[in-house]
């Protein structure tokens, strides 16, 4: 009968193993499918129509951030000040204006400052699909050869920048020279 008392703990150990394995295959875990892949090919209008069309070639040549943003995205407001600051300190940031309204987007940039070298206007989200964008904001770090080297889903703030981006950014910068 004494052994029967061990039954619950034994069952629990089995359960824990399942849970641990389940944690490993976390269904919402973000894939690294895009990291170390070339930035997908695209040809889209710039947000500012005067800049004409933009394709992936224009991302090559310099280490840069590609930041997915939209005016409907509330969290984008939170990171915008941080992006402005990064741009000021010389980081090249390319905007990907995602499923947005052009007039609203202009107003946004006028109001909050424009940290972007230029913004790609992805009205239908076609580039977003190729990039596997989950939502905004998302930020990709690409190297001088146009390869995606890091991806961040969610807000980039001071902490995220210094913990996740700064080191890699400096390294890529050094490699590029």
């Amino acid at each position: 009968m004494r052994l029967a008392l061990f039954l619950p703990v034994a069952l629990f150990v089995v359960l824990s193993v399942v849970l641990l394995l389940g944690l490993d295959s976390d269904p919402t875990e973000l894939p690294s499918a895009l990291v170390d892949e070339p930035f997908p090919a695209f040809r889209l209008e710039a947000l500012d129509p005067e800049q004409g069309f933009i394709d992936e070639q224009q991302l090559i040549g310099e280490v840069a951030l590609v930041n997915v943003w939209a005016t409907w995205c509330y969290a984008c407001r939170i990171e915008h000040a941080m992006l402005n600051q990064l741009a000021e300190s010389g980081v090249k940031i390319i905007g990907l204006n995602y499923k947005d309204n052009r007039a609203d987007a202009f107003e946004w940039l006028t109001l909050r400052g424009d940290p972007y070298v230029f913004s790609v206007f992805d009205l239908r989200g076609s580039l977003g699909i190729d990039l596997g964008v989950y939502g905004a904001p998302e930020t990709f770090l690409i190297d001088a050869q146009g390869m995606i080297r890091y991806r961040r889903v969610g807000v980039v703030d001071e902490r995220v920048w210094s913990n996740e981006f700064a080191g890699l950014y400096a390294k890529l910068k050094a490699e590029a020279q």
Binding site: T28, L34, D130
Partner: protein
């Protein structure tokens, strides 16, 4: 046997029998009610069974949503990036259902490989994409990349 022993044995046998029946039932019912998720590619490659209740999903293809003018019937297509699956549904679509957004439909495949859906789910809010959809889109993306690389080599 001692009567008390006998009684105990009976109880043990009963417990074992009851657990066996319960386990069997649970396994059977799980089998009956487990709804598998398939990506459009899997459905079109014939992996998904016809006539069984399944779930399938992907991005809603732009321009594919067509409402019947006189009823609540609606046709639309979803894609995982490499294949397109047609879905037919009658009823109210969820609030965040939209073209170029993720959606999951649950229902049965008919002979034409169109999913006759009895339920359609969209993402809950801007930040959230159903994990299955996210995964299937990633799988499709990887497949596409691989194809591209092959094509480049040739």
């Amino acid at each position: 046997m001692h009567p008390l022993r006998k009684q105990r044995l009976q109880i043990v046998v009963m417990i074992i029998a009851a657990s066996a029946v319960a386990t069997g039932l649970i396994i059977y019912m799980l089998g009956q009610n487990a709804n598998y998720f398939y990506t459009p590619s899997q459905v079109l490659s014939g992996e998904a069974p016809e006539g069984t209740f399944i779930r399938a999903g992907g991005m809603v293809v732009e321009g594919s949503v067509r409402r019947d003018p006189n009823s609540l019937a609606v046709n639309f297509e979803v894609t995982d990036g490499s294949a397109i699956l047609g879905i037919r549904y009658t009823g109210i679509l969820p609030d965040l259902f939209a073209e170029n957004e993720a959606a999951i439909a649950a229902g049965k495949l008919d002979q034409n490989r169109v999913l006759q859906a009895s339920e359609v789910l969209a993402k809950h809010d801007e930040k959230y994409t159903p994990p299955e959809v996210a995964e299937s889109m990633n799988a499709a993306y990887k497949a596409k990349q691989k194809q591209k690389r092959k094509a480049d080599k040739l």
